[in-house]
């Protein structure tokens, strides 16, 4: 992080709580995310990281009986305000899921181009350019450039995950949410994706859920520690890992529980 550039808060969660039916999975989360940074969300399994992440691009809208309260501001505007369209929000806030989920009937090329194509972009040159750029950004271009027209399901798991990253990048989101994107990958693919994040943050702000403490320490600028639905501590990654303020954070990071 450079101190000279002015820090703009792109995303701000204000007293966010998320309910599955009557059970609250996440409570009173207040969190500011500065643009062009990588932000790690850590915490033991079931503490609500995925739940919180899915609230940010309104993915909970599609699951019945799920409710989000509080405010989530994207560049100052509440994405849950009545006049906001979830489709537009998701266009601006992309998501990469824990398990690779390429579109099964589409080729590699069509997967990456799908977001633009289905939004009405027809110009072949533009599509070609963005597909190549996105695949390069996802460090997949060299491996697939000779077989762009082959089915995406023919790729390995790690390649499929990078394809999903490329697909998310192709629509040029402002924020990218990544839910344990490397949990199903080998160390080499993981390293490539980690390298990628440093590059990507020039263009997009990243929130990444990870169970891998080294990964959080390596790639992120800030870290948020969740525990049973509460955001226990949030701060610069250096500070969280070397000098946590909360005993529970320290306990989790040093591996005493979780």
């Amino acid at each position: 992080m450079t101190a000279s550039t002015p820090q703009k808060v792109i995303l701000s969660a204000q007293d966010v709580a998320i309910y599955y039916g009557t059970k609250d999975a996440v409570r009173h989360v207040n969190l500011d995310v500065v643009s062009n940074t990588v932000n790690a969300l850590i915490g033991p399994s079931g503490c609500g990281k995925t739940t919180f992440l899915r609230a940010i691009n309104r993915m909970h809208d599609v699951t019945p009986n799920t409710r989000v309260t509080g405010k989530i501001l994207l560049e100052g505007e509440d994405i849950y305000a009545a006049d906001q369209d979830p489709v537009t929000i998701r266009r601006r806030i992309g998501m990469v899921f824990q398990k690779p989920n390429p579109f099964p009937t589409m080729s590699i090329y069509d997967n990456v181009a799908s977001g633009l194509k289905l939004a009405g972009v027809r110009d072949r040159k533009i599509l070609d350019g963005i597909v190549e750029q996105s695949l390069r950004q996802a460090a997949l271009w060299e491996e697939v450039k000779d077989r762009l027209k082959t089915p995406a399901t023919g790729l390995s798991g790690g390649q499929q995950q990078r394809l999903c990253i490329a697909r998310a990048l192709a629509v040029q989101p402002e924020i990218l949410l990544m839910d344990e994107p490397t949990s199903a990958l080998d160390p080499q693919s993981t390293a490539r994706i980690e390298d990628l994040l440093g590059e990507l943050k020039k263009d997009v702000t990243i929130l990444i859920v990870t169970h891998n403490m080294q990964q959080a320490a390596r790639v992120s600028d800030t870290t948020s520690f969740f525990l049973i639905g509460d955001l226990v501590e949030h701060g610069p990654t250096d500070q969280i890992f070397t000098n946590p303020k909360d005993k529970r954070t320290e306990g989790y990071i040093t591996g005493r529980f979780g």
Binding site: V62, T88, R91, F103, S114
Partner: protein, 293 residues
């Protein structure tokens, strides 16, 4: 580890081995039972084929496909009129069945929260419970009585309504099989739900939907009852669906109940050809959708 622990371990091991051998036995037993059941199911199928081939193959010749009904006394005569009628009516019925059925199935599977869903589900269940002949009567009252005219279109409508519930249910089932992670991937790209459904989910379910449509086609191709009061049948060649039309099952029935052995052979030949037509339609549809993958 202590001695006792080791003893314990070998004990469980022999237990596991014993259980394995009994598992092998039950495996073989299940295999035998399943094979016998399969055979029992296959017997009527082969019996039907054997019967139809032995009784009807002699009547399958060029005339059968190029000539229409000939009154008794005249030599020759074929089923061209019925083949054309069945092809046209089942084709038109498929348009109705696919349009209504696939959209109903999409609605049931993808818009489960919608308040119309229980109603669509109910209508589809009721439709599938209506006997084919009643469907014919309904269309007779709705179309034939009001237009004062039997027609291939009325027949196609009755067959189409019979197809709808089959297509609705299979479409619903195969769409539910598409993993929800694929839906979420589409939505997360900022695509509206209907676009995700039509461009991502539906293509992933195409081969299953085609199977359902072919099932429905096979079901209605052999129906005579709903055509009696609608298409009515026609002894002359007619390719205009606005007029009364012949159909394979109607002609087969007409030939089969006659007292003439010559016509019995034609009936058996017609049944054989009908089965082959349905079978090849299914095959072609399967191959066509496989290539699209």
């Amino acid at each position: 580890m202590s001695m006792a622990g080791q003893l314990d371990l070998s004990g469980t091991r022999s237990q596991i081995l014993r259980r394995q051998s009994s598992r092998k036995a039950s495996n073989i037993f299940a295999g035998v039972v399943i094979s016998i059941c399969t055979l029992i199911v296959l017997i009527p199928l082969f019996a039907i084929f054997y019967y139809l081939i032995s009784k009807g193959i002699s009547s399958i010749n060029l005339e059968f496909f190029t000539q229409s009904f000939k009154p008794i006394g005249e030599t020759g005569g074929g089923m061209l009129h019925a083949i054309v009628g069945t092809l046209e009516m089942v084709g038109l019925a498929s348009v109705i069945g696919v349009l209504l059925g696939v959209s109903g199935g999409i609605f049931l599977a993808e818009y489960r929260e919608h308040k119309l869903v229980p109603w669509i589900s109910l209508v589809s269940d009721v439709l599938s419970g209506i006997p084919a002949i009643v469907m014919g009567l309904v269309v007779y009252a709705m179309i034939v009585l009001t237009s004062k005219h039997y027609s291939g279109l009325a027949g196609a409508l009755a067959l189409g309504f019979l197809m709808v519930p089959i297509v609705v249910r299979t479409t619903e089932e195969v769409l539910k099989l598409v993993p929800s992670t694929i839906r979420e991937a589409g939505l997360a790209l900022g695509l509206p739900k209907w676009k995700v459904t039509l461009s991502v989910i539906l293509p992933a379910a195409t081969s299953g939907i085609v199977t359902g449509v072919m099932l429905a086609v096979a079901r209605v191709s052999g129906e005579a009852a709903p055509l009696i009061f609608t298409a009515f049948g026609n002894n002359n060649f007619n390719a205009d669906p606005r007029d009364p039309m012949a159909a394979m099952p109607l002609s087969i029935y007409q030939y089969a109940i006659s007292p003439f052995p010559e016509w019995h052979r034609l009936a058996n030949a017609g049944a054989l050809v009908l089965i082959i037509m349905v079978f090849s339609a299914t095959l072609i549809a399967r191959v066509a959708t496989r290539q699209r993958k």
